[in-house]
Symmetry: C2
């Protein structure tokens, strides 16, 4: 680090200046002050740690910054809320390059501009490894947040977009470098890496699903099986998932032979898709599907339905059932 | 870690349940939802990293949790605002004891109860070392936040309480264990350690100073010299500090011979006091002093005054001047 803390803060401050919506007092004071909204504040926070969530040699500073914002915005989107402000706490090793830090903030600023929220800066510290903690404050009309707890037996289970691409990107990034770089001439390979490093938060889609009658909603960060089991636990219900309906990401399907992975397994068990998982009364399904397609060009797929009995059941093409195992990533499990 | 992530989250959830002010949807969903306030939201975030800000063998989990809340509340207090909600992101090594984590959350909850804010939970991750990132959302009447930028030439420079005790506690904690434990029979030694591990955020005091006419305000986290230089830079002014007026903490004065430290140097250069530093028109000084004393039993000391010329000047008992060197802790400086 060739800059002192005050010099680095000055550089970041320049990067965060300019027009930002709703900011009364921005970076540089003890705290930021923002305009009050008309709705209820929605608050979420997420930490990205080098060596756990990312490796410095497999994601650019700009992508890392953008991703740190997007994953928090995704949590706000999953409540059917709108993101408004982001705060950042960051831990940086003493030998980090100032250019890397500036790129990181540029990525955060870019994502904030994209999702129309203001980046307020925050705390900068020394740390053994890079740690990035982002808090996003959003807003929702009073009483209109969609929780994980409202799923009813008979509801359709839906997901936006397609699943497994980020897990495919992770599998690709873990290949030996020579093998991985050979594969990078393939469009599917670049798509998989892009899905991992630049996830998209479904903000408008979350609000549209809420308006269409979503009874429960969450974002898919730890894989369909694990996240659906959490939604079911909160709602006190169970689920049946039809495996043939699970929308496996096309680049994952194309690349799975070369990667030596089972695309369905990654689509069900892989994390970091940041698609929305929701439940809806079946009578609302077609309208939701049409609106999501017309407004955002995003596919909505029903993958099964909610049942009264606890537990998650997978149904294969021949109608055989088996437990849908949550293979999502447990941050504390040994050997994960 | 003998608990899985989901089990740990369940344990934390139990600890965070019960009556919390203004919480509509608490821990356990994608994001928390809270009641809208009537003022402008005030946002701040701070990260505490093992090995940088604390060592696990020198602070208890409960103190660490309470301190993580207090230092963020202090930033909100320095804007003359009221804290409302806290969010926590935490990184935990795989071998951390569940009991330690529960104590940490108990400390956070205790501090939140003390300062009347709700603890909303947040994100839990695996990490090489303990990392704790806290965001506090507060509230201030529109237009009533006090920034660092309003100091005027002629204003008195004031500080709440006394300075240097936390730096004394740090000096004590860095002594060889046998020498430190011998000193711990002394009340001053215990007071110094307590100041370091359980700082108090000056919430009511900040609001009282604002009402009394504070023109600029910030909290003292990096030492009087460094923080005053920041306030002056934001305000475009300089300062003269009379060294004899600096309120050196009594336990530091008592312990300085045994610790082998210069108490004035620690009071000026040591960090983590979390007292408030403010500037006031001299005609407002007596009222501010009386109100702070009557309402909170807290001393307000004027330590000098703001001048037009840039730079910080120290004036000693004989009227000799020298530059007031910011010796505060630079998180990135080599050898700091």
């Amino acid at each position: 680090m060739e800059l002192s803390e005050d010099e680095l803060i000055a550089a970041i401050r320049t990067l965060l200046s300019g027009d930002q919506p709703g900011v009364v007092i921005g970076i540089g004071d003890d705290a930021a002050v923002v305009e009050a909204g008309t709705g209820q504040p929605v608050l979420t926070t997420d930490m990205l740690i080098e060596g756990i969530h990312f490796e410095l040699d497999s994601i650019s500073a700009r992508d890392l910054g953008a991703k740190a914002i997007a994953v928090n915005v995704s949590d706000v989107a999953a409540m059917a809320a709108s993101p408004r402000y982001a705060l950042v706490s960051i831990g940086l090793p003493a030998d980090v390059q100032a250019a890397w830090v500036v790129e990181l903030y540029a990525g955060m600023r870019q994502a904030c501009d994209e999702y129309a929220l203001a980046l307020l800066g925050g705390d900068t510290n020394r740390s053994g490894r890079v740690v990035l903690s982002v808090t996003v404050v959003g807003e929702v009309a009073p009483g209109h947040a969609v929780t994980r707890a409202g799923a009813q037996p008979g509801d359709a289970i839906v997901v936006t977009g397609s699943l497994g691409a980020a897990a495919g990107g992770l599998a690709l990034s873990r290949l030996p470098p020579t093998r991985a770089s050979r594969l990078l001439s393939e469009p599917w390979a670049r798509d998989l890496l892009h899905a991992l490093s630049r996830p998209v938060a479904r903000v408008g889609e979350g609000q549209t699903l809420a308006q269409a009658g979503a009874t429960a909603m969450m974002d898919l960060s730890d894989g369909l099986a694990k996240d659906l089991s959490r939604l079911c636990a909160e709602s006190g219900v169970g689920a049946r998932v039809e495996l043939v309906k699970v929308p496996v990401a096309e680049p994952l399907r194309l690349g799975s032979p070369a990667l030596g992975v089972d695309p369905l397994e990654l689509a069900i068990g892989g994390g970091e898709d940041y698609e929305l998982l929701a439940t809806l009364d079946v009578t609302d399904l077609e309208r939701a599907r049409t609106e999501l397609n017309e407004r955002f060009g995003v596919r909505l797929t029903d993958v099964g339905f909610i049942v009264e009995d606890e537990g998650l059941v997978a149904v294969d093409a021949d109608g055989r059932t088996s437990p849908l195992e949550p293979r999502g990533w447990d941050h504390f499990a040994d050997g994960s």
